[in-house]
Symmetry: C2
Subunit: 311 residues, 2 copies
């Protein structure tokens, strides 16, 4: 990947995304013993950074591909992002969702004009349903994270952050499938002055941490975490980028995630989803090593069910 | 009051406050059938617009007055604002709070360096305790809203909003004691092109609505509303300004307040306190009359107890 690819991506998607604000909090800086710059992707269109990658992938399709639409399987933010990206460009989006997905998420996808097909809640059923739709409609399958167009799109959040704060020592992002953190690492590599990338994930789903240790993609035996966006494993495209460009991954306890989330809500007055609070939790946990540093913190999303809060 | 007084106030307080962002939401605009510009005073220092009035009143004291400190009685945001304003200038703040005030509010005042004196929870006890402290310490008593310096300070939120969006047709603010709405009305009068000011209050405490009808300051027989910042009556200084400059007051039901608050949290990803959601609730309720208008909405504060949410 080259610097020019990330710049081209940004030029292309810029008319379709929000340039989200960067916020700071004196109190949170005092708690962390560092200068934190929160990149507020919870204020991005549809409430998460996923919009960046989705619109980039959609825009990079040929006109003929676009005309036949896009398909993905997801129960999370990428489903909403792809539906909205497709609506923005005026093409169909077919979204395969497990039948037990929360009603609030189905409503959101429907609200963005996505055509939902329900299936039994197994990865196999999701994949076979998506394949069937692809064959029937000619739609292009888009992967939520293991796709270079998606990775580049997600990297534009850190690109904007580094444009405004070029002297950051670190930038930290949550790690699920690795699309956000690998895009972030590329941005830090190309546009930081001397900026290292950190990943953050729950102990409960520390597959990325273990993958870096073992040198191969590890999975999680169970996925019992409040950070529902971070349960997925790394992909064939994200893992090598993470090995090359991410300095290390900091793991956090569930109680630390909830406490970080509470602080962001109470002190910054920002609604963040649990996954979005994981990097700040990691900064607090590792404060001795990060003392005095300038740290960009990707606050990745704000889509949370208000009737299911942990406090 | 004159235009120059509001400008002088703004020049004076500007180094001590945040210039809060103005946010918009396509979806909320669609729901309202109008263009809404949310002035995010929940992102103000200490989490509410009250910081503007408090710091202005403190800065306008003589050096000798400042040296003896300030005193007020409040169980709400003004207590925190005055404590932080006094700390900012480096003078003592004596805060009288009812002994049954929530622990979270006492902690906040204490955190800003305020010296708390507890009293029995009656207005009489609060006033006599404040008087005793004033006599013992020589501190200056500052009223939370019925004070021209405070009113001017609160008006600077709308001043900033109109600087960025000079063509607003309306600006709407919640009405408690009337400090915010009267300051807002002055700003709209002096700096709007043709901008009318609206007030918003709960039906449950519609003293301001009834005061405008009867021509004298009315009070509330009961104060059973979730909007805990709006329970107070108008003052001798705020009422005449409201009569002169506020076009009308829109009243809202409790369910409408909760629904507006939920929409701001879910869709704008902003933590607002119930009082801060009242103006948006009013815009939704009165959407037929406001159709197509450009409306500045003062989102007054974000200090909410996360363990006491209405959803």
């Amino acid at each position: 990947m080259e610097k020019s690819q990330l710049l081209d991506c940004y030029t292309k998607i810029r008319p379709y995304i929000h340039r989200t604000p960067v916020m700071t909090s004196r109190l949170l800086n005092e708690m962390a013993g560092a200068d934190l710059y929160f990149k507020c992707e919870n204020l991005q269109r549809m409430g998460a950074f996923k919009m960046r990658g989705a619109i980039h992938a959609v825009l990079n399709l040929s006109p003929e591909q676009q005309s036949r639409g896009v398909v993905t399987h997801s129960s999370g933010n990428f489903a909403q992002a792809l539906a909205l990206a497709a609506k923005t460009v005026g093409i169909p989006a077919y979204i395969v969702m497990p039948e037990n997905a929360p009603a609030v998420k189905k409503r959101a996808v429907h609200g963005y004009g996505g055509q939902i097909t329900e299936c039994t809640p197994t990865l196999q059923a999701r994949e076979s349903t998506a394949t069937r739709i692809r064959e029937e409609t000619g739609a292009t399958f888009l992967h939520p994270y293991d796709d270079y167009d998606v990775i580049l799109g997600q990297g534009t959040a850190a690109l904007e952050l580094l444009e405004e704060h070029p002297g950051l020592d670190y930038v930290i992002a949550p790690v699920g499938g690795g699309g956000l953190v690998s895009g972030t690492a590329l941005a830090a590599h190309f546009f930081g002055e001397n900026c290292r990338t950190l990943g953050a994930e729950p102990f409960a789903v520390d597959d990325a941490y273990r993958s870096l240790l073992s040198g191969k993609i590890e999975s999680n035996a169970s996925t019992d975490t409040i950070a529902d966006g971070l349960k997925t494993n790394l992909g064939e495209k994200t893992f090598p980028l993470i090995r090359q460009h991410v300095q290390r991954i900091i793991r956090v306890e569930e109680t630390e995630i909830v406490e970080a989330m509470r602080l962001i809500w109470e002190r910054m007055k920002l609604v963040t989803e649990p996954s979005g609070a994981v990097p700040f939790a990691a900064v607090l946990r590792d404060k001795d090593a990060l003392k005095g540093a300038k740290i960009g913190v990707i606050l990745s999303g704000g889509n949370v069910d208000l009737s299911q809060l942990p406090f």
